[in-house]
Symmetry: C2
Subunit: 467 residues, 2 copies
């Protein structure tokens, strides 16, 4: 398995001196990279970066597999109740490693595996539509929240519980697995005192770094993903991510390239897989990159208001939507392609085109076309002085997806250090949560409710009503 | 039906003088708005903006309905082959106006309506997965390309044709509808000479403005969307979009707000519906905004490299993914919420929370929660000096979705004039297409192939291979 990072088109000799990276830019980061690496190793040894050790946590994966085996054949629908880090990784890996049509297959074609629904919102239309197609007797909800305080997940849980109680009575508890902190939070006591099944999120792993924990491993295992191969892919890739030098560690190198591009004003970072199956990896990455690096304060307490804006795109699809802007708009973007060398299936175009203008495609295949389009887009961007790089996977498999996840996680950690921010916290979402609690009348948030009223009342409303 | 634009939090008195818009900023645009309006009216009278008249085109909709009636009951699967403007609008409206689970419903629950698949890529894994769940005898492909030259659509068409021929023999033509230019292009002769069924895209309507043409109307009608109500919603909203003054035309006003924000350095424009059903409207809008405004040249030929970057987000989901960055990152974003006053369904939280920490949600509903979360997020952004505004729909219905589409289209046209660019062209994607043709060996593109080789050969490849 060779995963490669091709950064030819990030450099000044490819895209020009103004927005391209100079050899000297990279050299200048070498010493800092070494220091950061030592710091990371040091902190890791002191147990600070728990996500780093997940691919090697055999007991965790065995516990998940045991639970998954126990539940096997019992349910036709697995419904994830969770949001953000409790949902995005599962959606991304499920899409990558099960057929895109998994939920549309007949029971027989799914070989008895359940359908998997990830409900990561509190839209009643969306939630009700999904309940309506599930038979309660054959449905299991995975309630995923580390703290147990996530308001969206709590609301989903309460509604699902009512729905089950009406249908199956007091057996409803057997239709839940709570995936939560092993000790803290409001979900754990339900497991201990009320007999809900539960599964631990390893301590010290934050939401957006939790895809290789039971948060995603349990739903993925239930849906038929080979989670051992997923973890093995990450573990096998680990040596590359432990290199101390910028030039030989793909996570460090890619973080450095992104950081240098940001310094040159390229503050939007597009991640564009040329693969339907990898589409939602870009959406998962969006959280990882945005929440980890988008910060007001630096680690040393200065106000910095820093952070690249991650944008997800899909090749070839977004060539017909976003690429016009990437080619001609402001010089504020860097595009990272993810390519796949071998697709699992291919579709050949045989002779017999009904129009002579279409005949040029005869003898080619769909896989060839998608690969050529990526090359064409990359060279056109390069010619237009738009930095771009390419991560190539040999195929889409549990092993390569595991490696890719691990690569991006370490890249994010390293980028946090380059940007001088804490990549593991998210203080900026606290305020919105508190306003929500206040508006929902939760006791203890009365002051926040008054602040809300105060802010609203001091503003002259400007509303254009169209009747 | 009242659709409103609340721009209170865009203004300087809400978010501060540095990034907020001043009353005087808007006043200063008044005269220009009037001139642009007159220009738009004038050009429209001369037939330049064909998309403007679509909601009133009764013969077009009758033709679509007749074809849809003819095909009714004949197919179990409708598969759209198209990309960009031939796909995004259909996906967005289908998601908004049919149950989110439409394709998962049983034939009975779908009341005999077909499933609808929009395949807008040339990923062989994705394409093959969808073919595998369709019975060729019951599948109809809508081949959508104005020019008939779109390489992705051509490749899809050729593969689908082979697949059908193998299964149903020479009857395969009956499993296609070509939606294309009434006269030009390579698809039209197939209809005229080879007996393929065809449907016209009205002349003068570009891809990203084509959602209210047969491009989307036919697949939507086949899938059970009330396309007459969709067009009526747009038509009924038209008077608001014909106002000449900035303050009373929501399309002009919103374009002006976005333009002024861009001038203040807020170059990323986030569209964040708080509705699962409206999620993909933001993805459709992404093409409209990016391709229309992202331009190298102004109308008077100057090099400007202009264009806001549209970003799609979803409330509440992206509160747990992107909002940390929006709250604390660089001051480079403006957020537009889309809210829904009444959901079609609601889910109440009844007494009986299994944990006292969850009891505060009792007596509330899911619809209430999603609405409060939007308000909480808006006020938190405002407090953090982040401009944001809100488009409110009374509900998600064919009428409101039709109005919203029309609003965004006119807004884009007006924004093009403010930015001084042509919102109807996309010259920047031409080069990538030509490189693709060259790499696929299409005759006539040999020079482009040589240029590709030249660019590649002059660059020192920089690749980190991880084995």
């Amino acid at each position: 398995m060779i995963i490669s990072l091709n950064y030819t088109n990030m450099m000044a000799d490819a895209v020009g001196a103004e927005y391209g990276i100079h050899e000297t830019d990279l050299l200048a980061l070498r010493a800092r990279a070494k220091t950061i690496h030592e710091e990371i190793c040091n902190r890791r040894q002191h147990g600070e970066y728990a996500f780093f050790d997940l691919p090697f946590n055999q007991s965790m994966v065995e516990e998940v597999l045991q639970l998954s085996d126990e539940m096997s054949g019992r349910f036709k629908n697995i419904v994830v109740l969770g949001i953000g880090g409790s949902a995005l990784g599962t959606t991304a890996v499920f899409r990558a490693l099960r057929p895109l049509t998994h939920n549309l297959l007949t029971d027989e074609d799914r070989h008895g595996l359940p359908r998997l629904f990830v409900l990561d919102n509190v839209d009643p239309d969306g939630f009700a539509a999904h309940l309506a197609i599930c038979d309660p007797a054959q449905t299991c909800f995975l309630v995923i929240s580390k703290s147990g305080a996530t308001v969206e997940t709590t609301c989903q849980f309460l509604v699902a519980k009512q729905w089950l109680q009406q249908a199956v009575g007091e057996e409803y508890r057997e239709h839940f697995v709570l995936i939560t902190d092993p000790e803290k939070g409001s979900l754990r006591p339900l497991a201990v005192q009320q007999g809900y099944r539960a599964c631990d999120i390893p301590p010290g792993v934050g939401g957006r770094f939790s895809v290789l924990t039971p948060v995603s491993l349990l739903p993925l295992a239930l849906a038929g993903v080979d989670i051992q191969a997923l973890l093995r892919g990450a573990a096998d890739f680990a040596p590359h991510l432990c290199h101390g030098s910028l030039e030989s560690n793909p996570a460090y190198l890619n973080a450095a390239l992104q950081y240098l591009a940001y310094q040159k004003g390229l503050r939007t970072s597009v991640l564009m897989p040329y693969s339907d199956r990898l589409r939602d990896m870009a959406d998962w990455f969006r959280q990882l990159w945005a929440e980890s690096l988008g910060k007001k304060y630096s680690c040393d307490g200065r106000v910095v208001h820093v952070g690249p804006t991650p944008v997800n795109a899909l090749g070839t699809t977004d060539q017909h939507s976003q690429v016009q802007l990437y080619m001609e708009g402001p010089f504020d973007k860097v595009v990272t392609f993810i390519t796949v060398d071998h697709f699992d299936q291919d579709l050949d175009v045989l002779p017999g085109a009904p129009s002579p203008e279409m005949a040029y495609l005869e003898g080619h295949s769909m896989a060839e076309l998608i690969r050529m389009e990526q090359l064409a887009t990359a060279v056109a961007l390069t010619k237009n002085h738009r930095p771009n790089c390419m991560i190539s996977l040999p195929n889409v498999s549990p092993e390569t997806v595991g490696a890719l996840i691990y690569l991006f996680e370490v890249q994010t950690l390293f980028a946090g250090a380059l940007f001088g921010v804490n990549p593991l916290d998210q203080p900026g979402v606290e305020e919105g949560k508190q306003f929500t609690y206040a508006l929902m009348g939760r006791s203890g948030f009365e002051e926040k409710g008054q602040e809300y009223a105060r802010i609203q009342s001091r503003l002259a409303p400007r509303v254009l009503n169209c009747q």
